[in-house]
């Protein structure tokens, strides 16, 4: 008769210990605004920190000075760069600086990783205006968000 050691019993994978419990509480409002479905209320909501942070960070980068009521200096203020700087290198360095400053001030927990921008020719856009597409990689270590990305498009003037 064989003797078994209980050390080798283990657990079943469907045991409660390994079941992820989804937090039913919404964290914040999702943008662009849309009507809520299923668990959300009036508006569609984020239910994960990662989603909420990504949304907030994108909004921060897209916002220019003076656009936010009550907080004049909120945002990365990138819009003025598209009309001021002639070379892409100049744009990239200044945009990175502004994004870093904005993130440091308003979302200090975000660690910026990489920045990449692409110039889209006016002929290739529906509006007939040049686009600059920026891709920013970031991490939030405390929340185990590693190398997440946002993509922000600004329309070049003139």
């Amino acid at each position: 008769m064989a003797v078994y050691d209980f050390k080798s019993v283990g657990d079943k994978v469907d045991s409660r210990k390994y079941t992820e419990v989804l937090d039913p509480s919404p964290i914040g409002i999702k943008t662009p605004l849309e009507f809520g479905t299923s668990r959300s209320g009036l508006l569609e909501m984020h239910f994960t920190n990662a989603g909420q942070i990504k949304d907030n960070f994108r909004n921060l980068v897209q916002t220019n000075f003076g656009e936010r009521v009550g907080l004049y200096s909120f945002g990365a203020n990138l819009i003025e760069l598209v009309g001021e700087l002639a070379s892409k290198e100049d744009f990239d360095s200044e945009a990175m600086l502004r994004i870093k400053n904005a993130a440091t001030r308003w979302m200090p927990f975000v660690e910026l990783e990489t920045f990449e921008s692409t110039f889209v020719d006016p002929a290739d856009t529906a509006s007939g205006l040049a686009h600059i597409v920026m891709t920013i990689t970031y991490s939030v270590v405390k929340l185990s968000i590693i190398k997440d990305q946002i993509q922000v498009t600004v329309i070049a003037m003139g």
């Binding site: 509480s25 919404p26 964290i27 914040g28 409002i29 999702k30 943008t31 605004l33 209320g41 909501m45 984020h46 909420q52 949304d55 907030n56 960070f57 909004n59 921060l60 936010r68 009521v69 009550g70 907080l71 909120f74 308003w106 979302m107």
Partner: protein, 626 residues
């Protein structure tokens, strides 16, 4: 220095009625949202949409709070900043907003009048003119002044003596013993009301066509700014409109020439005129323009009732035992004449004076030209005299014009509000009555002193003692016309249950008789002269009021304090009541002796409603040096 600054900053508190600003609202909203909506949203950080909504709500609250503070601040004259609101507050406090004020100046007019051929000691009466009010003179700088009242060179006093004759200078003819003509100057002598007063500004006449539509409280705005005075308002039907303080004031005072024997002391009488046609004037500080506002009544339904008959408003019940609720249009009641008549289908003619400012305070001797002469001669005047007298007319201002002021600043108007709130048009207290009497225009007679006592017979009555002065500055019984004017004047401000008995002040004429010992090294005559001069000053009538006692010990002290006086051997107050040596005294007999009943511990009391007067101090103060 640094401590002072810190103290100042500490003391300076921001006015906030809600005590909420952006941060305050935001933190409260955040607390509220986390408490009641924590299960629906958690992220209110600045970059989130939730944070943005909080910021927006806080921003709206902050802005509303700011405007709420602002609105509340605008209710207080001390903190209001908007000119429009300040004007309303100032006006509602009873302060009249005016533009630039005109200057006032006393003018000297000189005319050369030929001598009377029958009596060369006098100018020819028929050639003496009246320079009429409205005559316009001009300063070197071009500022216009208008004569306010007639200057009558032929004016005589109650004894038939030319008032202006005292300043007559004779111009001799070739025969040096006979005066060929006289130079007359308007001057009534010191102590009397002078004529020749002129006011700066332009007189403007404007006409307004009023259409045939009824508009309650119709307003018209005058074309010129800095209107200092509305001279007349009349319509095509010759109705005169009177300026009132408020449209509910339905009576105005009118000046009427006094033709009675006391006309010298009281040149004019007051009469009350009902004023159904009336208006008020409002000036805007922003535009400087003045607006005239008429009443709300319709002239064609004008009734003579100052107060409408309430029975006319009651509803008739013809054969009914019951009646339902009914509605009334208040506008129908508004069309009565109780707030004055609104003009309709007519042309309003308005004459007014415009202009003013500090620049109108022209220097002395700068008004030398006459730009619009209006002169009147008697019926017997010869044309050659008229021409020569008109040509001889010269004008001058010996003193600088004064009173011209720029429009009051908002801060100046603010400061007037507080004092205006305490002003009232009713006579309630003793001080109200005294102030009202003293402010009666002097054309209606001048009261020198007023005394008020309670009536013994009637607890609701007040006994008002008044006294005037004659030409020599001595006390004289107030003329009857003055009392009648006083009755008319104060009656409008009297409370309905109050009664005022106007009585003459009893004048107690007093004198002094004293003996002093004078040191041997002093000149007795000079010592006595010094004492008498000081006693005269003390007993000057200007220092005495009705029912004011004489402090006899003060008089003794004056004598004893004079250097050279070693002792006061004898001192007696005497009452003088009998006319002696052409000196006229009051007939009040009174015991002024120190052993009498009116003397108590160094103080001499007069009878009720009396005033002490040392009428002829040169004769009534008798001093002897031993």
């Amino acid at each position: 220095m640094a401590d002072d600054l810190r103290d100042k900053l500490k003391r300076k508190q921001t006015r906030s009625y809600l005590n909420k600003d952006f941060d305050g609202f935001k933190s409260d909203l955040l607390l509220y949202a986390r408490t009641f909506f924590g299960d629906q949203i958690q992220d209110f950080s600045e970059p989130s949409v939730g944070g943005m909504f909080l910021d927006m709500a806080a921003y709206v609250g902050d802005v509303m709070s700011y405007y709420l503070d602002h609105q509340l601040s605008e209710l207080n004259v001390e903190t209001a900043v908007e000119t429009k609101n300040l004007e309303k507050i100032i006006r509602s406090a009873g302060v009249k907003i005016t533009g630039a004020s005109p200057a006032i100046v006393d003018l000297d007019f000189y005319i050369t009048v030929p001598a009377d051929p029958n009596d060369t000691t006098k100018p020819r009466a028929s050639a003496i003119p009246v320079i009429q009010a409205g005559t316009v003179v001009s300063s070197n700088g071009g500022v216009l002044f208008e004569l306010l009242e007639d200057v009558d060179f032929a004016e005589k006093d109650s004894e038939g003596v030319y008032l202006h004759l005292s300043k007559v200078a004779s111009v001799s003819s070739s025969d040096s013993t006979v005066a060929a003509s006289y130079i007359l100057k308007n001057n009534r002598g010191s102590g009397q009301k002078q004529d020749g007063t002129a006011k700066s500004g332009r007189i403007i006449e404007e006409k307004f066509n009023i259409p045939n539509t009824f508009v309650a409280f119709r307003t018209v705005t005058l074309g010129s700014d800095n209107v200092s005075e509305i001279l007349s308002v009349s319509d095509t039907e010759k109705n005169k409109y009177y300026e009132v303080e408020s449209l509910s004031q339905n009576i105005v005072y009118s000046r009427v020439l006094n033709v009675q024997s006391d006309s010298f002391e009281v040149p004019e009488n007051i009469e009350l005129l009902p004023a159904p046609y009336r208006f008020i004037v409002n000036s805007s500080r922003q535009t400087g323009l003045s607006t005239i506002r008429f009443g709300s009544g319709q002239a064609d339904s004008l009734d003579d009732d100052i107060v409408p008959d309430p029975s006319e408003l009651s509803l008739p019940l013809y054969g009914k035992q019951t009646f339902s609720r009914f509605s009334i249009d208040p506008n129908n009641l508004l069309r009565t004449s109780t707030l004055g008549v609104s003009p309709q289908n007519t042309t309003i003619t308005i004459r007014y004076r415009s202009g003013g400012g500090l620049s109108h305070n022209v220097a002395s001797n700068t008004i030398r030209s006459i730009t619009g002469l209006s002169v009147r001669f008697g019926s017997g005047a010869e044309s050659t005299d008229i021409v020569s007298v008109r040509a001889s007319l010269e004008v001058n201002n010996p003193q600088a014009a004064r009173g011209g002021e720029n429009p009051p600043t908002l801060n100046e108007l603010r400061s007037q509000v507080l004092s205006s709130r305490f002003a009232q048009s009713r006579i309630v207290s003793k001080e109200d009555l005294i102030a009202r009497i003293y402010t009666m225009p002097s054309n209606f007679g001048r009261v020198f002193r007023v005394g008020i006592r309670s009536s013994i017979q009637n607890p609701l009555a007040t006994q008002l003692y008044i006294i005037s002065r004659n030409k020599k500055g001595q006390l004289a019984v107030s003329p009857d016309s003055l009392k009648e004017n006083l009755v008319t004047f104060i009656n409008q401000h009297r409370l309905i249950a109050d009664a005022v008995d106007i009585l003459d002040v009893q004048v107690v004429n007093i004198g002094l008789d004293y003996n002093v010992s004078v040191g041997t090294t002093y000149n007795k005559r000079i010592v006595l002269q010094n004492i008498n001069n000081k006693l005269k000053l003390y007993l000057d009538i200007k220092n005495f009021q009705v029912d004011q006692p004489v402090i006899v010990t003060d008089l003794m002290t004056i004598i004893l304090n004079e250097s050279g006086v070693t002792s006061l051997a004898n001192f007696a107050m005497i009452n003088i009541s009998a006319d002696t040596q052409g000196r006229n005294y009051s007939n009040i007999i009174y015991d002024a002796s120190s052993s009498g009943p009116n003397y108590d511990r160094g103080i001499l009391y007069g009878p009720p409603g009396s005033i002490f007067e040392c009428r002829y101090p040169d004769d009534d103060i008798i001093g002897n040096a031993l």
